[in-house]
Amino acid sequence: MSQQDQVAGRFQQCLPVLATLALGLWIAYESFTVEDPQPYLFPQLISVAMIGLSAAALFRAIRGANRTGVGIPLDLLLRIAPGIAVILAYVLVLAPQLGFYTGSAIGFITLYSLYDPNPHLSVRTWFTRIAITAGFMLVIYLVFALALQVQTPRGLFL
């Protein structure tokens, strides 16, 4: 079963172009209703192009003529959902609240452990995971904090 041959259904194909259509309409609304239209010339042109292209793509999607893209089947969504949740938690909560280095260490080991096929209940597995996380974070710290002197935000910790 090759993924290339699998094409998302008509309904799914409509979703992304409906999104761009909505975006185009919103941009058009924002840029055609301002008092001073001069700085909005380009956004106006872009919104018109976006609406036109989205409409064409939508028409093709309804006819079933869009033959690119595999879509997102439910089982795939379920497999990536925990990963995306960890990424969001890391970037939006852990990194700013705990500090970039602490947050990153937690984000790294959580994401890694979640998708690591080695057994969770083995001491060896955890030893490897911790060692890799510590090693990686040390390199990041050496490069960004010591060598390049990037001042990252601090939270509760570093």
């Binding site: 280095y101 602490t102 260490a105 937690i106 080991i109 959580t110 955890w126 995971r129 911790i130 996380t133 510590a134 974070m137 040390l138 710290y141 904090a145 010591l146 002197q149 001042q151 910790f157 570093l158």
Partner: protein
């Protein structure tokens, strides 16, 4: 469980590496940061780096000053963040550019204005100059005025953006000439200078320091300041000398400030030591080598200068 072990392991490693002194002594007892609202490598950035390079000497702060760049939207992003989110403990300083930040606080909805910021000291003053290409038919400001009289609105003048020093100098010059010109805003001083050198525009308003570096391909017709620049361009007259009513309102002043609410004793310490640091011999030598005019002003002088600019700009920008 193991996750916690890692976390604390990590922390221990990082803390050891940082070796931060935690003792609370006299201010400052740890490095101080200076936020620059422009990109690294820009004029404000490299001048800030030069004037703070001796901060760690015992006679000054005794602690190094670390530059943090937060560029974006002509400085608005950095200053907005500074005025709304920085700590008021004296460990977070920022560099100011007058008249930019004052003009922006008048023209735009910004979180900063002269009221919620406290000046510490000024290190530099870069006046605007009126330049034309070496091949230009204009040789004096009088030529420009005559041409503008015959062709109103036909002389294109480049400058770095709207409501920055260049634009303000342009507005003053246009008013003083009594003739219409055409301002072409660019994305910064360098592209604006490029347009003059490349002949895309007929004239330009630019920084004295940048014009000085390109002086072989330019004619510098006048300085928008109250005095000539003896150090770099002693032969170029001020616009006022030429009979045009242009003062030093557009001069780009650069200096250090803190947020309002910073403890008074911290402000006093900084206000006493920072101007001395700017006067350091090594700093002066390096600034001159970089073609940047040094002008050290104390906290009180800067306060008066800010107030004067604020008043002037409110009037000038009211009609726009």
């Amino acid at each position: 469980m193991s996750k916690y072990v890692t976390r604390f392991g990590m922390l221990a490693v990082l803390a050891a590496a940082m070796a931060l002194p935690a003792s609370a002594g006299e201010y400052p007892d740890r490095p101080v940061s200076l936020m620059v609202a422009y990109s690294p490598g820009g004029a404000t950035d490299f001048q800030a780096r030069i004037v703070t390079m001796v901060a760690a000497n015992d006679e000054y702060l005794g602690q190094p000053i670390v530059i943090i760049n937060k560029p974006g939207a002509g400085g608005k992003v950095g200053w907005n963040k500074f005025a709304s989110g920085s700590k008021k403990d004296g460990y977070e300083l920022a560099a100011y550019n007058v008249p930019h930040f004052i003009a922006q606080s008048i023209k735009f909805k910004t979180k900063y204005n002269v009221e919620n910021l406290e000046p510490i000291a000024n290190w530099g003053a870069d006046p605007a100059v009126f330049v034309v290409n070496r091949d230009s038919p204009f040789n004096t400001m009088k030529d420009v005025q005559d041409y503008a009289k015959a062709n109103p609105g036909k002389i294109t003048v480049s400058g770095a953006g709207l409501f920055v020093g260049h634009h303000i100098a342009y507005l003053q010059i246009e008013k003083a000439l009594g003739e219409k010109l055409k301002y072409v805003p660019h994305k910064g001083g360098a592209p604006a200078m490029k347009s003059v050198l490349g002949g895309q525009v007929m004239a330009g308003v630019n920084n004295l320091s940048d014009a000085y570096r390109s002086r072989d391909s330019l004619k510098i017709l006048g300085i928008a300041d109250v005095q000539r620049n003896e150090e770099f361009l002693p032969d170029v007259p001020t616009l006022a000398e030429l009979g045009f009513d242009v003062d030093d309102s557009s001069v780009n002043f650069r200096g250090v400030m803190v947020r309002k609410g910073t403890p008074q004793e911290v402000i006093d310490t900084l206000a006493a030591k920072v101007p001395e640091m700017f006067k350091n011999k090594r700093v002066a030598k390096q600034m001159k080598a970089g073609g940047s005019p040094l002008r050290v002003m104390t906290r009180d002088e800067v306060k008066a200068m800010w107030a004067k600019r604020e008043e002037f700009l409110k009037k000038l920008l009211a009609g726009l």
